[in-house]
Amino acid sequence: MHSIQDANNPQALLTVAHLNIQHQQQVLVDNLNFQLHAGETIAIVGESGSGKSISSMAVLGLLPSTLKIKGQARLGQQDLLTLKTEQLRQIRGHKIAMIFQEPMTALNPLHRVEKIIGETLLLQGWSKQKTQARIIELLNDVGISQPEEKLRRYPHELSGGQRQRVMIAMALALDPDILIADEPTTALDVTLQAQILHLLKSLQQSRNMAMILISHDLNLVRRYADQVIVMNKGVVEEQGSVAEIFKNPKQAYTRDLLNHDFGEAIQIADSPNILALHNVAVKFPIKQGLLNRVKEYFVAVEPLDLQLAQGESIGIVGESGSGKSSLALAITRLIKSDGEIVLLGTDLNQCNEKQLRPLRAEFQIVFQDPFSSLNPRLNVEQTIGEGLGLKKLSATEISQRIDEALEKVELPINFRTRYPHELSGGQRQRVALARALVLRPKLLILDEPTSALDRTTQRAIVKLLRRLQQEHQISYLFISHDLQVVKALCQKVLVLRHAQVMEFQSTEQLFLNPKTEYTRQLIEASQ
């Protein structure tokens, strides 16, 4: 492979050879080899649990001692894996710095920007004036406007993008030779992702730094990396230059990661409306003072109208905080809302909880995280059967309907006795789907049902949803931030931003000619 061929290159900054990480009997990383040169970027790509993050943590000696680490990681003359904590401390930050995924938790909320960035400098014995000048310079470098004014701010007073920039500045403070970026953009909105990656790339070039970019998204690293290592369950699937891998992926797994094809949404004939929203708005009161008087409202969703036909699927797209989940919860009456929610001729907002209960079977919701949406103490049978227990059905009928639902979501019948912890993420999501489908709903609200899953599972779930839509004429409200998935499933798309509807048109039209700049950015980021 490419990187091993020139293994004797003397200029290699960091050489990782035969890295092997074990936890008891489980192999977490198996035989990882790479060389990193100055000014070069290596991307390590893989799904969660593939071992991409712990490989880089091992290099910095940040792993717990319960893990068995074998192999070599040479930085100059030193083998990082054999160094003592004292010696490692001389390397961390100075030679190798790291950026983490979640800027909110990686920055100490009690410290101001000035202290966050300057702490390492002051520890080096720098004077106060010199440190401050250096911090302002760093903030300038990472593209923060008016850096003098930002010095006195706390992390919560910064936007998500600014926080990520502060973290990068913190990592750059001591001019490291190598920067490890662990999913630096995953927690950010699509529009910010490109900016941050661009920033990292330009910083790298101006400083001739080497970078290890860790990501789960192979397409994302295409523009920014020189070499790619594709990992799967601790094993290196494929390794080589970016051009090579993208032009000619050798492994089926790599091809799978590159595959963006979710299929086409089905065509539907004209059919009657089943759901109509009129001026539906969601706002949360902000209470203050002695008597908890409502001071003002936080508006999660501005009044909006929407019509959904039987068998139709509408995608609701937007970044986190745009109000799409609030809308889903409002329609299912799990949170309060204003306006009319007319489902099959009944205004749900006029019903009280008791009147609503018999109607609930008609509209069901599936949540994003398959780990938290199933009660860990109930097995599959109990979970799926819960809704049926509320209807007047005999035990054999219930059992039959559970089998039927399992069949619908393509799970084997013998899964009935399993508990959630015995299932994979995709299987859990299927169980959650079966729990909703067993009631034979007319409307299914899917709140990011695929975003916690890996690509292969995503594809299977989308295919399943499409089939169910066709066979059972179920209508979907499909909430997602991933336009590719929406495109494969929905006839129409509603774009939300900052609680407001940006645009609403048919999927085809949206992709052909988006009405707003924001939609254009979303489409671009999803390509």
């Binding site: 609930r360 919701i365 109930l378 819960e386 509320l390």
Partner: protein, 337 residues
């Protein structure tokens, strides 16, 4: 048993001190439950005239053994003992005194120092201290258990309702709890007890009235957290009733933190009962109780065995409970999995 519970049990056993304490405590508890068989003024078994009698369980008139009186036989009476020994034999418990039996054979003034007959001496009415400790421990532990369980049930129910519904119910509940918690419990109990004739049931109700709040905060927090979990929301959207959601989905997950509090609540309740007894507002005067023993120790400073026995009994039992509580808390700690 679920794998989760299995893991907890394993973690509990790994805490050797806690596990040992649990064994010792169980032994003490079982012994105190069998107080009648260990310390009693009646023989366990009497063989008289080719038939067997069990005086511990059944009362026999003195005439059964050839005596004069129609009333129940007084087996401590030398005359009765002689009658039995003539035509058979008697097996006595380890301690030949019940908690109310004065030792009438004492030649010294009461309270008397420990002897081979009264291993921990006698109190100021000539009653055997060891027998009184055994019986007193039983009352304390049973009372403590019942009070703990009752206040846990009440506290969990109130906490669950507050946490699940939130809003005004929660706000109102919290304010009431704050006022209730601000009341000086000991003095309120003393005032209330003195209004009624002291008996175990009244005391239980009154202490429950002021003790049920312990778990409310904990359970409320668990329910506040859990009510927005996706699987609870999913159950709501299925149309499941609130009561079922609370019992099936939230309570089992909230139980672990409550369960680990129980040993500490038990400790507090035993201490509270002892304190009331010591002040004379607790159990009826003739009942055996640890607080009463301590009070005797205070009034008879020249008889240190009274205070020392009371102190060590309480210290040992409460320490055992604390260590058991710590082991339980660690076993239920989700972060140690």
């Amino acid at each position: 048993m679920s794998p989760l519970m299995h893991a907890r049990l394993k973690r509990f056993k790994e805490n050797q001190l806690g596990f040992a304490c649990l064994i010792v405590f169980t032994v003490i508890f079982v012994l105190s439950l069998a107080s009648e068989l260990i310390a009693n003024d009646k023989p366990l078994l009497v063989k008289y005239d080719h038939s067997l009698y069990v005086p511990v369980l059944k009362s026999y008139p003195e005439t059964t053994f050839g005596g004069v009186f129609e009333t129940e036989a007084d087996y401590k009476d030398p005359v009765v003992q002689q009658l039995i020994n003539e035509k058979g034999w008697a097996v006595w418990p380890l301690i030949k005194y019940s908690y109310q039996t004065p030792n009438l054979e004492l030649a010294v003034p009461v309270p008397s120092a420990p002897t081979s007959q009264n291993w921990l001496g006698t109190d100021d009415q000539g009653r055997d201290v060891l027998a009184r400790i055994l019986y007193g421990l039983r009352v304390s532990l049973l009372f403590g258990f019942a009070l703990t369980i009752a206040s846990a049930i009440l506290g969990i129910a109130v906490g669950a309702i507050q946490g699940y519904y939130g809003g005004w119910i929660d706000l109102l509940g919290q304010r009431i709890l704050e006022v209730w918690g601000g009341l000086p419990m000991l003095f309120m109990v003393m005032i209330l007890v003195s209004m009624f004739t002291p008996n175990v049931y009244w005391l239980f109700l009154i202490m429950l009235l002021f003790g049920w709040t312990t778990l409310v905060g904990l359970v409320r927090a668990e329910f506040l957290k859990a009510r927005n979990l996706d699987y609870v929301r999913a159950a709501r959207s299925l149309g499941v009733e609130d009561r079922t959601i609370m019992l099936r989905h939230i309570l089992p997950n909230a139980m672990s933190s409550s369960l680990s509090q129980l040993p500490f609540m038990l400790t507090a309740n035993i201490t509270a009962l002892t304190a009331l007894d010591f002040l004379g507002y607790g159990l009826p005067p003739d009942a055996a109780s640890l607080g009463e023993l301590l009070l005797q120790g205070k009034s008879n400073l020249n008889a240190p065995w009274l205070a020392l026995s009371g102190f060590f009994t309480l210290a040992i039992v409460l320490s055992l409970l604390i260590y058991i509580g710590e082991a339980t808390r660690d076993a239920f700690d989700p972060r140690r999995q």
